[in-house]
């Protein structure tokens, strides 16, 4: 039966080629536009660490109080997006979570061993050893540094695969030295490709940018007075000058993440954090009641508005566009089916049930949808190419078409077109055989 209806659909579509082409083009253009933006949106909105996003928590502590005087005085809840060095060390010393790490972004000049090659800039992330286990970072060679290295402020680094290719031509560099800002560090591990999008653990600093090329112990970075290359936000008077002054200040410039595998762990950490802030109040550092918050990865992305306004606008526009295209296809389908009222009358008179007519017309709509979806796929590929040439690198890193996207595109096209075909199909099934035959 399906094959017969499919054949009928093809024949009927070929009979009125202009209308058919218009319908397919409308569906295709609509799908192409909406899938192009949906691909980018899905990449921006995607869960960067799906297997663990409910177990990883960003920590916020109100260390400025209700009378904050800085340049950006936090959100509506008076919470800052980052924490101070005082709190970072306080939380690291307590080790109240399964795993935890304070971290920040820095940078340095790497001087290659070959004197003919000019020094170049590398992005550094200073973190604790837990960083790697917590975020499940892949390793190509070697592994993370140890907790002892954290304690010993060791001169060790984990480097990215890209940097290993550049400096060591991809050879095993574990145990070799790299020179950062005139200081030698020993490579303990080479990371595999690890580019979470968005860079959820530090959304304040280039959320869609590349991951760091060098990772080194937080304690070593603080010793080396490695300045934060990211966002620094200070509350009123900074206090004493110099690096020590910065460490003793209430300026917020560090990210802090905790891994809390079970609901009990989460509850326990909430209580711990509140007690920590209450202690600060007791010590006289905070003159306000404890005010803290933890958010998991998904909540953190929403809180930090990870999806850009531009992409939201484009998704809105392109889905409205798809709606117009579908209304269009619906109108054309209506015209086409009602133009064939005579045929339908004959089929009904020869014994076809309403259901049979309904099925036949719906399959015709689905065929249009399928053709439109295929055209849409082609247009999506074209659209993504267009985006890549038009937008900055941060956005174009999000324009990769995945097999899931292809399925979504074709399903969306067939489903939407079939839905749009429901009304014309229903009208077709209402055709009165006698009335049509009489009119002939």
């Amino acid at each position: 039966m399906f094959n017969y209806y499919f054949g009928l659909a093809i024949r009927s579509l070929r009979r009125n080629i202009v209308l058919t082409v218009l319908m397919i083009a409308a569906v295709g253009v609509g799908i192409g536009a909406s899938m192009t933006t949906l691909t980018v949106f899905r990449a921006m909105d995607s869960d960067p660490i799906p297997e663990k996003s409910r177990q990883l928590f960003a920590v916020q502590i109100d260390n400025w109080g209700p009378n904050a005087k800085g340049v950006g005085t936090g959100d509506s809840e008076h919470l800052q997006e980052q924490i101070s060095y005082i709190d970072a060390t306080g939380l690291m010393n307590a080790r109240a979570a399964h795993r935890q790490s304070a971290m920040y972004v820095s940078g340095a000049a790497l001087t290659p061993a070959n004197p003919d090659v000019l020094p170049f800039q590398v992005q550094i992330r200073a973190a604790y050893a837990d960083f790697f286990g917590m975020f499940d970072t892949p390793f190509l060679m070697g592994g993370p540094w140890s907790a002892a290295d954290d304690k010993g402020h060791a001169d060790v680094v984990v480097i990215s695969r890209e940097l290993n290719d550049k400096v060591f031509s991809g050879a095993n560099s574990v145990g070799k030295m790299v020179n950062l800002d005139n200081h030698e560090y020993r490579v303990v591990g080479v990371m595999g490709s690890w580019e979470p999008v968005p860079k959820f653990y530090d959304l304040n600093n280039n959320a869609y940018g590349k991951s760091a090329e060098v990772y080194l112990p937080f304690t070593r970075a603080i010793d080396g007075q490695m300045q934060s290359w990211g966002n620094n936000n200070c509350n009123g008077k900074v206090g004493e000058p110099g690096w020590e002054g910065r460490l003793r200040s209430e300026c917020v410039w560090l990210q802090f993440w905790a891994e809390l595998p079970t609901a009990a762990d989460v509850e326990h950490y909430r209580v711990f954090l509140n007690n920590y802030a209450s202690d600060q109040q007791r010590l006289g550092r905070f003159t306000w009641p404890a005010h803290t918050r933890i958010r998991d990865v998904r909540e953190w992305l929403v809180y930090q508005h990870a999806v850009s306004t531009e992409v939201r606008i484009l998704v809105l526009v392109s889905f409205s566009f798809l709606l117009v295209c579908l209304l269009n296809a619906m109108g054309l389908m209506l015209a086409k089916i009602m133009g064939r009222a005579g045929d339908i009358g004959v089929r009904r008179a020869l014994g076809a049930s309403r259901r049979a007519i309904f099925g036949q017309c719906l399959i015709e709509a689905a065929v249009v949808g399928l053709a439109g979806g295929l055209l849409g796929l082609f247009l999506t590929a074209l659209g993504l190419m267009g985006l890549r040439s038009l937008l900055s690198e941060e956005v174009t890193r999000l324009t990769h078409f995945s097999p899931a996207d292809i399925t979504i595109a074709v399903m969306l096209a067939v489903l939407a077109t079939t839905l749009a075909g429901l009304y014309p199909t229903w009208r077709a099934a209402q055709v009165q055989p006698a009335w049509q035959l009489k009119a002939q």
Binding site: L327, N328, L332, L391, S392
Partner: protein
């Protein structure tokens, strides 16, 4: 023109008419909001920085390590750049307009004021800063070499001897227009700082739409510091007219001749910096334009398709009307009026839809309120589009011979 027969005919084709009207309404709503966004983004990307953009280039330099003689190296580089053929002037600074990175400070009129009177972007520079950017000093005086001292990174909290502010910042702090000679307090440090000069304009480093800088776009100040830091910083080089491309090659070469213990991250003209800074805005403009054009085309083809079907359906009736004496013009007018009625209804709904879509975006994306003239322009475009799209099927209808009426029955 008689509307009654048109309306009673439309009643029999309710759904078709509604489909076209809804399409036109959505088209109108999207189009005028898109045009509005396009206009805003174009205006955004054309905002001046205040610098002599055609003749200025930036060099982003970073020392290797923290050389103890960084201050002397900085002065050596600057002396060499200023002596380079084709160069008018040069200075070193922590940040530049359109770079997207820099520092902000809140300024107060009184010590220990609760909320800052104004936010200002911080640029560090010496007495060459104004000439090297090509800024216009409109009141007070420039720095002299005695004002300028070294600042060792952002954690060096020393206060400036005096500051030069933009006109916008001066007016925000002292609306009376007497800013020069007055003093302000920085939120982050103690002591008051006199304003010694005012420049016409100097944009903040952050230029993205709705971003950090949109709160205080032209509110900047220059502090008399040589930025001696482990951070990457900028040399701003003002070239003589026509020498930009020569200096673009010779300046980094000269710097590497002085010392190779440095990273020059990039050397770019302000024109290139502008293209890069506004790339996403330009991209959005192109995408929205393409979508608008496609939207209009799809809607137009939809009208052609559906009207052609109506013409085909009413061939006999049209023949009868022609046989009864209706002119070709009357037939064309019939379809045009019909479309005008549909498009009119669509446009009315569309204007309402456009305004509510905009209101929603105002809430969701902190967008500006839609100028109603955009809705009106959109309505006119949609009405004209309908008329143009209906013309071809209407002409086909007009060519139906009156004899058809006698033949078919």
């Amino acid at each position: 023109m008689e509307f009654r027969p048109i309306i009673s005919a439309m009643r029999r084709n309710k759904i078709g008419a509604i489909l076209i009207a809804v399409q036109m309404a959505i088209t109108l709503a999207i189009m005028c909001n898109a045009l509005f966004i396009i206009e805003q983004r174009v205006a955004l990307s054309q905002r001046p920085t205040g610098a002599d953009e055609a003749n200025v280039l930036f060099i982003r330099n970073q020392w290797v390590g923290n050389p103890p003689d960084a201050s002397a190296r900085l002065q050596g580089d600057l002396a060499a750049l200023r002596a380079l053929p084709g160069v008018q002037d040069a200075f070193a600074t922590n940040s530049v307009p359109m770079s997207g990175g820099g520092s902000t400070e809140g300024l107060n009129l009184h010590e220990d004021q609760k909320d800052a009177t104004a936010l200002a972007a911080l640029y560090f520079g010496d007495e060459h800063a104004i000439a090297a950017f090509g800024l216009k000093l409109v009141a007070g005086r420039n720095f002299n070499s005695g004002d300028v001292v070294d600042k060792v990174g952002y954690t060096d909290l020393k206060s400036p001897t005096g500051i030069i502010v933009t006109r916008v910042l001066a007016d925000k702090l002292f609306p009376g227009g007497n800013a020069v000679g007055q003093s302000v307090y920085g939120v982050a440090r103690s002591g008051r700082t006199p304003i010694i000069g005012i420049v016409d304009r100097l944009q903040v480093p952050w230029v993205s739409a709705g971003g950090w800088g949109s709160k205080f776009n032209d509110s900047s100040m220059i502090e008399p510091f040589n930025f001696v830091s482990v951070f990457p910083f900028y040399y701003v080089v003002h070239t003589q007219p026509g020498q930009l491309n020569t200096v673009l090659q010779s300046a980094p070469k000269k710097l590497f001749d002085i010392s190779r213990a440095r990273v020059i991250e990039k050397t770019e003209t302000m024109t290139a910096a502008r293209a890069e800074a506004y790339k996403d805005d330009k991209g959005l403009v192109v995408i929205l334009s393409v979508v608008c054009a496609a939207l209009l085309a799809v809607t137009a083809f939809g009208i052609v398709g559906l009207t052609s079907y109506w013409v085909a359906q009413r061939r006999r009736q049209i023949g009868i009307r022609r046989a009864l004496g209706a002119t070709r013009n009357a037939i064309v007018q019939y379809f045009q009026t019909e479309n005008l009625l549909i498009a009119g209804a669509g446009a009315a709904v569309g204007v309402a839809l456009a305004v509510s879509l905009n209101l929603w975006m105002v809430n969701a994306f902190a967008m500006q309120r839609l100028n109603t003239s955009y809705a009106l322009i959109g309505a006119i475009v949609v009405l004209l589009l309908g008329q143009a799209a209906v013309l071809w099927p209407a002409l086909k209808a007009a060519s139906i011979p009156p004899a058809l009426a006698t033949r078919a029955a």
